[in-house]
Subunit: 311 residues, 2 copies
């Protein structure tokens, strides 16, 4: 079997929302379809993928480098040992051939979007849900029916106000989410505290709110926010500063843990206090599972006493 | 004055050369022209830029995001206070607006190529060489007439052999370069040592050779190479491992310096032993000058005794 073609379409997801760093009025994303020659119910199996917002669609990279590498490969080198399904790892290695190490930002979006579509095709060809296929290949065969998820929203937009924020968060809670996330850092500390308090007031038992600064703060501001936030039972305080500002990350880490240095970002995320979405720190060895925000265990945001000296 | 248009052309620089990580048979680069409405000698001033090889041309990002942001900006926001020349810093900030922090890999090429063209236009509009303009703006007005440069080559290619390597390096020395650089890591240690020795034999007084592994090695291999290389008076040993493999970088640093952690990469480069081309570690604050390989002072590669235990 083989990949017949790879289609990409960059689509606008125009919105007037903004976080502390970017507005989304010109945001785009990539939709990818990996078309195979496998026929199911009289139709070709097609895997679909898309990228999350924040880093824009990557049609240029996909069309110039990653799709051609796959389309020009000997199909036999992209399938598993049975020859009956795609091998996502061989495909990923082929996409990343002739690529300079490091600097994965845009590239990880391009490769990851195709990778998502490949896994979708693999599960469809195997004729089982992807979660079941993953449990069989990498676990004990029993898929975990429970996965922690949260509702990420609480963006700033013109005229939203506290009522708009409360209504948005209430709609997530009504849909069954127990954790909601809101943006901070796009307003003053006082205003953000008011926004957080508005959300805290509508939370019921077992419900929590997380905050996300999207990497906006310098060290002084990050610490000032941490001090102000320490009065609230927040779920977490995400991406306080630039993910590549190692000095800031180290100092924030030193406030909370004795471990600093190379794995500070990972330990921050794993400990649930600060988190980061820095894609390049997890990509080099994709077999290592990220302990980042989306898979992290819910740990309460509550600074231990030794922190108070920094915060 | 204003930018009239920005042109980009992605061009192949096809070659059969390869380093330890990538071959260049499908390598491309971007050529950028920033066309202004300033007329000199009856013709419009145009700034030109291009990117170095290794990360491919970035026509997609340039056309989709960075050129449109400039072309849609109020021209008055992109010029300096006199209104008579472009302001590269304002232009850079505009290009980077609505961009997520971190993950600069591809983006730094796209933005940097336009940035180069902008500076070229600025110097032409000011009617003086760029080096003189920079000395006046950021130095004491006296441009340093001497800049350290070296000849980077020594790639692997089919049938090259030791004679081919020697002839190539000799041609650089004949052109006046006192430092030449060659690739390692694309062959066995024994073969690479043979290649290095072949080059060392043609060096005259005051001439040196540097080696570049292009991020290929794991820790064990990096250390094995370091041990083998310590017998030679090399100029430097560049990019031993993946720039994002913080553990490897830290351990290599611990071999040579007491400083480890956040700024390991920078200190490695500054000390001239190991160097890195990791673009994202220098971009977040572009006002901080990189101490990387291309601007670093020539320091000899010669491991002090405490290193021998690691190497």
């Amino acid at each position: 079997m083989k990949i017949v073609k790879i289609l990409e379409s960059t689509r606008p997801i125009r919105s007037d929302i903004r976080n502390a760093y970017i507005d989304f009025s010109k945001m785009t994303l990539s939709l990818v379809a990996v078309v195979t020659d496998v026929i199911r119910d009289g139709r070709p199996v097609i895997g679909y993928g898309f990228n999350s917002n924040g880093r824009y669609g990557q049609g240029g990279l996909i069309r110039e480098r990653f799709s051609p590498r796959l389309e020009e490969s000997d199909p036999a080198t992209l399938v598993d040992d049975t020859g009956e399904n795609l091998d996502p790892h061989r495909i990923w290695a082929r996409m990343m051939s002739n690529e300079k190490p490091g600097g994965h930002g845009e590239r990880s979006v391009a490769v990851g979007t195709i990778d998502m579509a490949v896994w979708d095709a693999v599960a469809k060809i195997a004729n089982k849900p992807l979660y079941q296929l993953l449990a069989e290949r990498y676990g004990d065969g029993n898929a975990n029916p429970r996965v922690f998820v949260y509702a990420a929203g609480g963006y700033y937009y013109p005229g939203k106000g506290l009522d708009g924020l409360r209504n948005e968060m209430a709609s997530y809670l009504e849909r069954g989410y127990t954790v909601v996330k809101m943006k901070i850092g796009g307003a003053s500390i006082a205003e953000d505290c008011e926004r957080i308090e508005a959300v805290l007031k509508i939370l019921g038992p077992g419900q929590q709110v997380a905050v996300d600064a999207n990497g906006r703060f310098d060290l002084d501001t990050a610490v000032a926010y941490a001090r102000a936030l320490s009065q609230y039972p927040l779920f977490w305080y995400e991406e306080a500063g630039d993910p590549l500002d190692y000095e800031l990350q180290a100092k924030l880490a030193q406030g909370g843990w004795r471990r600093v240095g190379a794995h500070a970002a990972a330990s921050l995320a794993g400990n649930g206090r600060f988190t980061t979405e820095d894609t390049e720190s997890t990509e080099p060895d994709r077999r290592k599972q990220s302990s980042g925000s989306r898979s992290g265990k819910p740990l309460p945001f509550r600074p231990p006493c030794p922190l108070c000296s920094l915060w």
